[in-house]
Amino acid sequence: MSRPLRRVVFFFLCMLAGLAIGLTYGWVINPIQFTDSSLHTLRIDYRTDLILMAAELYQEEGNIDQALTRLEPLGEAPLPEMLEQTIAFAEEHQYESVDLQLMENLASAVETTLIPPE
């Protein structure tokens, strides 16, 4: 290998090593900390409580459009899928049966609204 070519190869090898160090540091060791988080990044237990609140309000108001407006900012996944995950979490963590029932009612209403029966 000629000398200039070897220098180019070493240059890129060192740059790759630097890149690997930078990626590891930025993603694993010291990832960026968000202080202005959004509702969709909430930890699942808090998200579940917000969904329970939406379910409690839906029970009182019976207004599915209002419920959908409340649920929309909570997740990027499709709503029925998000509700399913949340109910599974609530069951796993032994939420009271009354609360589970409220969430299931809301999930069922959301599913009926978003996926109309054929």
């Binding site: 160090i21 930078g22 968000f34």
Partner: protein, 135 residues
């Protein structure tokens, strides 16, 4: 003479070699950090309510107040408010109620004001109980 200039050349060459490798390494690290901190930062779905932006904190607080207005469960509302870590939850509720009232969101403002008022009353009762120990 030739020997001396050869030695100097080799010496300068190796010095230059180290520097350009170091420059490449630093360039790589900088590119890596720009990518991980600016272009594609890690977004964990583990945020706490206290780290929410102000707008989302207001939505969270409003939902707590609306549920309280509907169910009357003060204990649950208090527990829910705690996670927002407001310095003074009653003041935060009151301030938000005033802001919503000014914006014409009367129902939302009333729900917030009701929770603020009931929390205040409950706190006064607790303070009085502490101030008057049983004889």
């Amino acid at each position: 003479m030739t020997n001396q200039s050869d030695t100097r050349e080799i010496h300068t060459g190796s010095k230059r070699g180290s520097w350009y490798l170091l420059v490449a390494l630093v360039l790589g690290v900088v590119l890596g950090l720009i990518y991980t901190w600016v272009v594609d930062p890690v977004v964990y779905e583990t945020a706490l309510p206290s780290t929410l932006n102000e707008e989302d904190k207001d939505s969270y607080r409003l939902m707590i107040a609306q549920v309280y207005a509907a169910t009357g469960n003060l204990e649950r509302a208090e527990l829910r408010l705690e996670v927002l870590e407001d310095n003074n939850p009653i003041y935060a509720l009151g301030a938000q109620a005033q802001q919503f009232m000014a914006e014409g969101r009367v129902n939302d403002a009333q729900a917030l004001a009701l929770l603020a008022s009931d929390l205040q009353s409950s706190q006064s009762i607790q303070d009085n109980a502490l101030a008057r120990p049983d004889k």
